[in-house]
Symmetry: C2
Subunit: 554 residues, 2 copies
């Protein structure tokens, strides 16, 4: 049946995976860290909203990770040969747009832009475009309410147009020099395919639909009149972007001779359309109607699918419902939390400044009962992606006494992310998206049984873990397997190539009861600070927590 | 003119000070740590409300601290002799009641009660009596509203009757064995005077008035009908307490032969009436109309005086206005914050677990501008003594991003205590207590210019520091000097024996403007979580903080 390569571009590193199309066996893998900045991210200490990445790091990682994964495959299975690779798939973070010149070369490759942060890739978690996102929301509310209905009501600073427009405002020189802007997940497939004209790149509907207001309903990207209302230069840019975006039934092209030579792979093998990391991750986790996939990493992304056989209602606060995103023939429903692992990492590495503490704190946190610490936190250190769609929010911790320990705070932070996760599940269920079980993927899901149990207790759902530790890369490889014809469709490919680990985290009824109370308090804080409630009565919150603490300490 | 000894019983240690009555020179001092428990405090890990202290530690410290201070005085001034000591004064934390037997011996001295936490001194910060405090407030509201008017509207779990009643409820054996209950600040003078019948102890009006609902208006302690409504056994106890409490114009007795011999002091020298530590501290800082004294330590106590020549209005939320407390001839106005230094200590030693970090964090905090961190905290880790009078409150920290540092959190905690301090100043001013300047005392005031400047910027008041580092002990010594006749009255004694350090912290107008905005946000959180506002609109809080952060980071 052959093998495919799945590439996964994360926040700090890129991974390549060699997968057997027959059974999903992962026979070789390699991870390459991006060499630039702070763990691959270019930061600005004076502006915590800024997060950029060097495009050259991506291209460098493409070559190195693929070659290392092929070597690893050969080492593991001496009979394996690179000739047996029948396709390549790729996923990446998003929206992470890169300004490119007319030859599809990143502006940042040019010496005059090398050190300019605005000429780099604008990483998904860059929030510098908050004012532009607000203006886009306001303008759409006035002129194109239909745009907002599809994205949960609010355009996010994490998305394409907010970033591009912010660049135009703060650095017109970069904006003018950019012939086009390409999402990372469209850029790498285009590099592999040897595309040298940005307007001919096969763009994925994931990024287009979820991040750039693309929809067939209104003929693709936002119309020029709307874009002109933001800035005429954005309307001009539209001509240099794309008219049509594609789901995973299309191919992004075939491997060009130059990259075939670099990678030692057959020329002309098909390249799958690029998708957002978590969308291919959802596929790698076996996403299907009724199964919510959570990819838990620095942030989370939650993916569900609903058959496109009939029309689907918009869901307020759910930032994306896009036909063809994730699986062809389904609406892809995407939600997420702006920070999860990043919050634990911040507390341990940023505040306590001792990375080795994660294990000890997990042990301390695991020794506590729900409610025993008296603490309650909001998981908004990086804003709230779903369901408030508001980056101008921050963290909150409440309930501290003079005896509060760091282990208690650590647990409260985990719980906060669990309440955030539940808010998403509750919202999409309310609008008819079935959630019968949750399948998780990512290092945290595999290595942190405490977090998984808390999520089960808080959401009331059985939590499972994807068999593959590389669900995103695996999903990309599945996309490649389908486009290469190894399987007739995604359902067949998923059945053959994905699976679950044995462990099941079942909700504990006693803990569920306590978390029900804590969740109600979380929602009061959520609505009060999120601006949902304009007349909050919070005088009981600390007292309720103290009462619960007293009860759970007995 | 002679010398007096001032004794000061703090939370973790006791201090003795030998003072020259002519000019306030402190010629010898010694501090003795209480040997028991956690830095002198007996805790219960399962109940953070509990804080007790061994009475034997107090008596032990009395002897050791006094002897060491006398030795130190002799060493510093070889011509000094213990014969020149003309009086002793003492102050202590409160309300810190001790159950004693009919001979004025602490129950905890008896072997059967030695290890029983309920037979120990119930330290001021013990909050186990929260339910009883609530019930006392409710009962008084029904039966004796005049009681509540004098204490700001709410009886506190830190006070005498809540503690004694809680003991009766949870440990009737201890309650029944106790012939009487004596405040620490009445107990030590009684020990020095050799009083062996608790009913004959000269009780200070500070503790009686501020903590035990004593007032001449209603004939002393609460009447038996009221106490019976709580529990008939409390009404019985009233007969074994006291009918009359005294201001500092009265003497607590004279030094008995046994203790004169132990301490090497003249038999029969007068002992000043015991006062609460901060009340004598206020005297040692030169308290006068228009001067607010803040003793900043683990918690703060704020003291002001208003001439008793005319009647004074009650002040809602101000837990004590007592005629004769602090200075004879004045209303003593007492307010306070349940935790100040304790909050910084908790964060550094309890969470970060590295006591040595205080200096580094202070430097990091000092490098920030007001509002630059985007953080805002409530200073309620140990409840709110003034102006909410509610121990069932907890800490809150808000505004965290993924880049928030511990130095930023440290500054936010200092600022939170400053906003808490300002709430007190604003409230008493509103009810006619003049506050023209603030004189501070305590290690934090002397060693933390950052905190002092922040307090000046937040309150808009000039902040001064008492010349003496031992204002409480100095005030006790002044009380002894007056009672011994070295000075005709407190005014004269204060003029001779107190002073200020040279440094003046003046409000910085730019910082004041920013803190004005932050204080408004603090008050919104204060009112929302304190139950003052039942319809809070908090959706703007995080956004305002982010905007201020952006502005102040420029």
């Amino acid at each position: 049946m052959g093998f495919t390569i799945g590439l996964d571009y994360g926040t700090n590193s890129a991974r390549a995976l060699v997968v057997d199309c027959a059974d999903g066996r992962e026979i070789g893998t390699a991870v390459v860290d991006y060499p630039s900045g702070n763990q691959g991210v270019l930061l600005n200490p004076a502006d915590h909203h800024l997060a950029r990445q060097r495009p050259a790091d991506y291209v460098d990682a493409l070559e190195r990770a693929t070659l290392l994964a092929l070597q690893a495959a050969k080492l593991a299975e001496p009979l394996f040969s690179a000739d047996q690779v029948i396709g390549i798939g790729m996923d990446g973070t998003g929206s992470s747009p890169i300004p490119v010149d007319a030859n599809n070369l990143p502006l940042a490759n040019a010496p005059e832009f090398f050190d300019n942060p605005n000429a780099q890739c604008w990483l998904w978690k860059d929030h510098t475009g908050i004012p532009e996102a607000t203006a886009i929301t306001d303008t759409a509310r006035r002129l194109r309410p239909q745009y907002l209905a599809k994205i949960g009501g609010t355009y996010s600073s994490e998305w394409f147009w907010a970033k591009v427009w912010h660049c135009l405002k703060v650095d017109p020189e970069v904006f003018d020099a950019a012939y086009s802007w390409v999402e990372l997940s469209d850029f790498i497939p285009a590099v592999l395919a040897g595309v040298t004209d940005p307007t001919t790149i096969m763009r994925g509907v994931c990024m287009a639909g979820h991040k750039a207001l693309y929809a067939d309903d209104w003929g693709g990207l936002p119309d020029k009149e709307f874009l002109s209302a933001l800035d005429p230069k954005l309307a001009d840019l539209r001509d240099r972007l794309y008219d049509k975006a594609h789901d995973a039934s299309a191919s992004a092209g075939t491997l060009c001779p130059e990259w075939a030579a670099k990678l030692g792979l057959p020329v002309g093998i098909p390249i799958a359309i690029g998708e957002m990391d978590v969308h291919y991750g959802a596929i790698g986790c076996g996403v299907d109607e009724g199964t919510l996939v959570k990819v838990i990493g620095t942030s989370t992304c939650d993916c569900a699918v609903v058959s496109a056989d009939q029309a689907m209602a918009d869901i307020p606060g759910i930032c994306g419902i896009v036909k063809g995103a994730i699986l062809p023939g389904y609406f892809g429903v995407e939600a997420g939390q702006s920070a999860v692992g990043d919050i634990f990492k911040w507390f341990v590495e940023g505040v306590l400044e001792e990375a080795s503490l994660h294990g000890k704190l997990t042990d301390e946190a695991a020794a506590l009962r729900p409610g025993q610490s008296g603490l309650l936190a909001l998981d908004w250190n990086n804003g709230n992606r779903t369901i408030l769609v508001d980056q101008s929010l921050t963290g909150l911790l409440l309930g501290q006494t003079l005896y509060t320990t760091k282990g208690e705070i650590y647990r409260a932070l985990i719980e906060a992310t669990a309440f955030g996760a539940r808010a998403i599940v509750d919202r999409i269920r309310e609008y008819g998206v079935p959630v019968e079980r949750i399948v998780c993927s990512g290092g945290i899901a595999e290595k942190n049984p405490l977090l998984m149990q808390i999520y089960a207790d808080v959401t009331g759902c059985e939590m499972r873990v994807s068999r593959s530790s590389q669900s995103c890369a695996l999903g990309s490889a599945i996309g490649a397997a389908v486009i290469a014809g190894a399987h007739p469709d995604f359902k067949t490919a998923q059945a053959a190539m994905t699976g679950l680990k044995e462990i099941t985290y079942k909700p504990d009824p006693e803990n569920q009861t306590v978390y029900q109370q804590l969740n109600a308090l979380y929602l009061e804080l959520h609505d009060a600070f999120g601006g949902v409630s304009k007349s909050a009565d919070l005088g009981h919150v600390m007292k309720d927590l103290l009462a619960l603490k007293a009860k759970q300490s007995r």
